[in-house]
Subunit: 319 residues, 2 copies
């Protein structure tokens, strides 16, 4: 009998759930707005309620293996407790597993959302052919997940994969983490907006200034559009993002020597704009990369990576 | 019956062998000068000859488990082929395992020398209480080895653990690896000598200048002595080494979240001089470290770490 699991991906904006078969087929997906769910316990209740409905609906002729959930923040996966969670106010030190277990008669598996996404890409995405990879998620911040020999590498505090806080500039901008010059302060969507603001202040991009005057908001997306339209300053900006990504990746490549590094998240859309500078810098900075064989590619599953990975926690991870 | 193995550690200067029991007891150690052994095949022959003698001598009442060897350079541990080896001229693309196997009727296990040292520290040294650690070996260069969940992490090309080539200065000194501003160019014994030369040129350390005038060679050891005697410029030099070590470690701490990072090699003698700056910088740069729990300590086994680790490759590593 075919096994299936419910994968859940809890983000700051959306709670997404999907019923996913052992063979990787996504049967049904549900997306809820987190804000509409109310406080923590109501959100947990909604998650379980929807999981129950999906499990019942698709359980005919299939064996239900359980619920896997990807949660943003610092998770003690062993104890099932969310230690910190900047994007989910009120969830600090919350015993997530216990809360889910008390509402669902099913196996429960939890992981950090970035780890779940990395596992999803390993199972069904760009990492299908490898056992080990590192996924960098480029968004408002930069997160990451490591899969080593098929298993998520969590670290002893559940804090592994914080690749956004690799230092790339000795005296760079202050970062929210307390350090400065982190990869996140140079290559996230937030960094793109900051750099674009500097372009405006220095009057380096008339096209960007024109768009702002005519009412556009200053977003990474807008800078990306202008770069695509050929604006030299905006193109240079993405090349700078690429160089810092290359520098950050060089440290991962030299220390971990994985076969594959994936870039996902919204900012990965700009891949054609930053990849040439990234690969050039990486070749210059890492003799391990220069040996050949190491791949740096775009992630393939988009926002669904976390759903697949969450289901994989139940369907495929050894205990 | 007690099992034992021969651990061998082949360096640029010495070939060391030891008979080591399963319980960690070193029964006998032999040290040979590599230069006196002649070319590659003669060195392999000497290694096997000494291993045979040790195995026979201590085999009474003990079960001989085989030979483990730590080899400097880039080793394809699966194939048993040494791909590159800057410190062993003529050993490039040498089928080491085959050469050993054809001369010894015993199980053979090979690893990179830095990996073997990391494994040795995990078994019997400063890492006895943890399953995962990273060892940084501070010498002429900076090498490293990773043990994750009790197993050496080699990387898909056998190049993992190249922590000496983590970038710590965007526009630092050129490094032998082709990059610039690597940890090795800022925190190795070679870096100490370069920085000391700069002190001399800038007339910043009269005491150092006096020692050189009276015939001392400019070595990291000399700079260490002067720092210990209170010379301010030499003390600052080691503080700078500590800051760069802290910066380099912050990337490992943030991405791997291991419970323990060890510093070994000759330069680790200067621990009291660089550790305060190291820990301060690490606390500032890594919020994972700032959470508490992560330990940074001196390695404990010195030059024997590689011997113990090599023996452990046979006695303790799962296939």
């Amino acid at each position: 009998m075919n096994r299936f699991a419910i994968g859940a991906d809890l983000g700051g904006t959306n709670l997404r759930l999907a019923a996913i078969e052992e063979n990787g087929r996504l049967i049904e997906k549900v997306v809820l707005e987190v804000r509409s769910l109310g406080h923590r316990d109501a959100a947990v209740e909604a998650l379980c309620q929807n999981a129950r409905v999906l499990a019942r609906k698709h359980g005919g002729g299939r064996q239900f293996a359980g619920l896997g959930a990807g949660i943003p923040g610092i998770l003690d996966a062993g104890a099932g407790i969310l230690r910190q969670s900047p994007n989910l106010p009120g969830w600090e030190n919350f015993a997530v597993r216990e809360a889910l277990q008390s509402r669902l008669e099913a196996a429960i598996a939890l992981d950090n959302d970035a780890n779940a996404a990395a596992l999803g890409e390993t199972w069904l995405g760009a990492g299908r052919t490898v056992a080990s990879l590192c996924l960098l998620t480029l968004g408002t911040g930069i997160g990451g997940g490591l899969v080593l020999d098929g298993k998520v590498w969590r670290g002893f505090l559940g804090m592994a994969g914080e690749v956004g806080h690799i230092g790339v500039r000795e005296n760079g901008e202050p970062c929210g983490c307390g350090s400065r010059g982190c990869l996140e302060t140079e290559a996230s969507a937030t960094a793109v907006v900051r750099k674009a603001r500097q372009l405006l202040a220095a009057e380096k991009s008339p096209a960007l200034a024109e768009r702002i005057r005519s009412g556009s908001s200053l977003t990474a997306e807008l800078v990306y559009q202008l770069a695509q339209e050929g604006d030299a300053a905006c193109r240079d900006l993405f090349a700078s993002v690429g160089r810092f990504l290359g520098l950050g990746l060089s440290m991962l490549v030299n220390t971990l020597n994985l076969p594959l590094y994936l870039l996902g998240g919204g900012m990965a859309e700009a891949w054609p704009l930053f990849a040439p500078a990234l690969l050039e810098e990486l070749g210059r900075r890492s003799y391990v990369f220069a040996q050949g064989g190491t791949r740096v590619e775009r992630a393939q599953l988009g926002a669904d990576a976390g759903l697949y990975g969450a289901a994989a926690l139940v369907l495929r991870q050894p205990a």
